[in-house]
Amino acid sequence: MEQHAQALMGGMWQQRLPNWRDLAAVILVLALLVALGTAARQMASPWVDQAHTISLSPGALPLYALRTTVRMLIALVASLLFSVIYATIAAKSARAEMVLIPLLDVLQSVPILGYLSFTVVFFIRLFPRSALGPECAAIFAIFTSQAWNMAFSFYQSLRTVPRDLQEASSALRFSSWQRFWRLEAPFAMPGLIWNMMMSMSGGWFFVVAAEAISVGDVSYTLPGVGSYVARAITQQSLTAIGWAILAMTVTIALYDQLLFRPMVVWAEKFRVEQTALAVVPWSPVLELFRHARLLQSLGAGLRAGVDSIMRARFSPSRPAWSWRPRLPRSVVDGLWYAAILCALGYSAASLVRFAGPTLNRADLASVLSAGGLTLLRVTVLIVLATLIWVPVGVAVGLRPKLVQTVQPVAQFLAAFPANLVFPVVVVLILRLHLNARIWLSPLMILGTQWYILFNVIAGASAFPGDLREAAGCFRIRGIRWWREVMLPGIFPYYVTGAITASGGAWNASIVAEAVSWGQIKLSAGGLGAYIAQMTDAGDYPRIALGIAVMSVLVIAMNRLLWRPLYRLSERRTRLD
């Protein structure tokens, strides 16, 4: 009926007339295209090491920020493709799953700079004399900080697609392609976007570290915010650090507004739960595009094209039962197990051959004690962050008005690369003659403590109102209120936040335990400092040892502490 009325009023014609929003939207799109083009041209240019040409003038920062951002974007797209393919294979084949999912667990626990030290040479050889080599190495490093949790999220979504929708898709005889676009991709979308945002934070942290890297005698510097900061550190310029922090703040805010906000709002429609949200996300940019008439009618054509690709069949519908004769299951399984064992054995043997001759017992002992020190730091820091942020988070979460203002700030702080602030802390330590072994430690959790805060806020604001009222009626107060009412209620949220915070702290230890200011180098000891030091020296066997020990510690902590806690929280807070 609406359509009839519009047709009568000439609505069809009016729809095609551009409005002011079109102008704004077109300018936005063009500006983005020009920016991307500029950055891409520079990336493919011949290689000139920029170590001494990085300018500390604030005027150079916008271009540096752009280059850094484009690296992030490329890595994000790569992570997305990787996640979809990897997770789909893992979810569709039980045999692949057996290998891929534990592998993902390990990949996730390897400190990100570990990948960098081993791949840098490869990428530089791949594109000799072109800037593409170091660019690829940096992008790959960012990719490794983003891909794993996205892949994991996609895999989990694929495994939890509601049964009735799966059955409906089979009954409607979707082909695998249609099933992916109609069912699996939309269902996984909210989780994937949330994890992309998380990945982004990790990415910012390491893009800064990956732009100016030296592994033994290989070193390169790419123009970007990271190398700007590195240069500012060698020049001991606090002013330049200040400018970098400002530039990063603006960049992250823009990124959020232009990319993630619109995506989050758009992904709203993919939520399966039919309940209303407490805070409805809103994006001015998406609104702009949705109301730009000319772009909408142009976009309709595009959308129809995409839609027809998504609806194409490409393959016959999957027969539910296949009648093909095949080898008995046990035989195939046996062969598969044998293949896995062979691959494992071969890897272990080549590792020993590679690292064995140079390493001895003393190495192992020093790495283990360094690991112990870092473990102690992470534990103490998580406990401290918990003691501070849980009460704050609950206090905020129970006041809806405060949530509206505090929650975005906490999320912003989580996304902000904390290593930009490191030099400020280092200068303080130097001026006040503090003990580096103690005072460098907080840097490890500087960036990731916010996950505890905003998860607790989310938990407290989702706390059922009737339970709070019941607690009020029975006058449950003080310690008992915390122990019996609030803490059990926010526990699952807290665990989620603490897992992220602890994983991030391990990762950050490489950057946080060994810092420098001009010629002065501060080291806090610990596994992170060990890996950083060996990377500097280009001592590959010891880098490998350090990384292996860190992976084992992270996996052990996840398996022995966080996962049982997570299962407990799931079991105890359920009511069915």
Binding site: M1, D164, L165, E167, A168, S170, A171, L172, R173, F174, S175, Q178, R182, L183, P186, M189, K269, F270, R271, V272, Q274, A304, S308, R311, A312, R313, S317, R318, P319, A320, W321, W323
Partner: protein, 430 residues
């Protein structure tokens, strides 16, 4: 519509289904079921929850492969979901991210039609099913009834020959369900559908009699056909008409006699059979209702169901539990309280618990078994897993789990044993 019986559209031939037990032997859940959907009829598949009727529908739709036997569609064996067979789901199974129009069009995706053609057909289906004006709405904006209309539109848009409906009205409120039934019957009798045969899976006896031309009654453990009841009443049918009530009563008596049989089987299996999924509150509630006026300890099940607005799948398990616990006796179509049942109705909580405890020990072998094991053990404890494994020799994992839940609830009420979910252990209460 031509009601002459002819070649079946869709046929289940000697279909069986079995799952492996922990020991590796097969545990049958469907035994040799033969069902044929004939041209021009709505076939009802009536049974309790857990009687395997949804599994049968999924086998007929090609969604599940039977362990033995085959499905024939127009005489040819079926190997998976096929063109011409459409399913309507109990939970609607709509894609939340697609609008009503897109959801209906999704039904045509498999045909790879040109865009204008699929749009035209989707709009026609939407029009037919009474969804006009809702095209651009998302499922979350719709009421349950409207959602199920989308489910119907998505099914009929493919112009299926066979329409399979899995409890399509059971997630709706009473009034909405009745409207949807009437609308569907109008389309069916008005010959506005291309569908030649329909299958309606339901646990609602009146719904089956209202809609179907023939009703197959399923009995469980393993599921098999207990009876086949033709319904040759003219449409539209009147629920209050004598012939209608007669068929409803007939089905009630079939189901009651099945109940008695299953209780007999329970006794024979000495604790290895499924218990009806009934809580102590439901048991007490029904005893109190029966003890009070106007029943005074005796009533026909069909009457009680109507007067108390109970679904047959709520009433039968409770009645069975009463019979099993010897608080009442099922005879023909009626339930009569025993002396113990009358005493129970008049007792206070403590006395009820004592009585329940005695009857539990005497008449429910599984409860007695758990009690005995706990008494024999020195620490008076036993892991739940032990009983679970024992039960899985006779029941599917799901049924074993449910049965243990039921007996845990009864045992806790009777203070016969206690159960700690954290340690997953039964113990003698202190």
């Amino acid at each position: 519509m031509d009601l002459r019986p002819s070649d079946p559209v869709l046929e289940l031939c000697a279909v069986s289904m079995a799952f492996p037990k922990p020991s590796g032997e097969p545990l049958p859940v469907l035994a040799q079921v033969n069902i044929s959907m004939r041209e021009g009829e709505i076939l009802g598949l009536l049974g309790r929850s857990g009687s395997g009727k949804s599994t049968l529908l999924r086998i007929a739709a090609g969604l599940i492969k039977p362990s033995a036997g085959e499905v024939r569609y127009h005489g040819a064996p079926l190997a998976g979901p096929s063109k011409g067979i459409a399913v309507v789901f109990q939970t609607f199974a709509l894609f939340p991210w697609l609008t009503v129009l897109e959801n209906v069009e999704a039904g045509l995706d498999a045909l790879a039609l040109p865009r204008p053609e699929s749009r035209r057909r989707a709009l026609a289906a939407i029009d037919l099913i009474g969804l006009d004006g809702f095209q651009s709405a998302y499922p979350r904006e719709l009421s349950g009834g409207m959602r199920q209309r989308v489910g119907f539109a998505r099914a009929i848009v493919t112009e299926p020959t066979a329409l399979l409906m899995d409890e399509p009205f059971s997630a709706l409120d009473v009034l909405t369900a009745e409207t949807l039934r009437t609308d569907f019957l109008d389309l069916w009798t008005g010959q506005q559908l291309s569908t030649r045969a329909a299958l309606l899976v339901t646990h609602n006896i009146e719904e089956a009699v209202l809609m179907c031309d023939r009703i197959v009654v399923l009995a469980s453990n393993p599921a098999h056909i207990a009876a086949e009841v033709p319904v040759s009443l003219a449409r539209p049918r009147d629920r209050l008409e004598e012939a209608f009530r007669g068929i409803v009563d007939q089905i009630y008596s079939i189901l009651t006699s099945r109940s008695l049989e299953s209780i007999g089987a329970q006794r024979q299996l000495r604790g290895g059979a499924a218990l009806p999924r009934v809580s102590v509150n439901q048991i007490s509630g029904l005893i109190e209702k029966f003890a009070a006026a106007p029943y005074d300890g005796h009533a026909e099940l069909a009457t009680v169901a109507t007067q108390l607005a109970l679904q047959s799948d709520e009433l039968f398990p409770t009645a069975e539990a009463l019979h099993m616990l010897a608080f009442a006796e099922i005879k023909q179509n009626a339930l009569r309280l025993t002396a113990a049942g009358r005493i129970y109705a008049q007792s206070d909580t403590e006395a009820r618990k004592r009585l329940f405890r005695e009857h539990l020990l005497q008449f429910v072998p599984l409860a007695a078994h758990i009690h005995r094991v706990l008494e024999e053990r020195e620490d008076h404890q036993a892991p739940r897993l032990r009983f679970e494994t024992e039960l899985e020799d006779h029941l599917t994992r799901q049924d074993a789990e449910r049965t243990l839940r039921v007996v845990t609830g009864w045992g806790r009420y009777a203070e016969l044993f206690s159960y700690d979910d954290r340690t997953r252990r039964f113990a003698v209460p202190v």
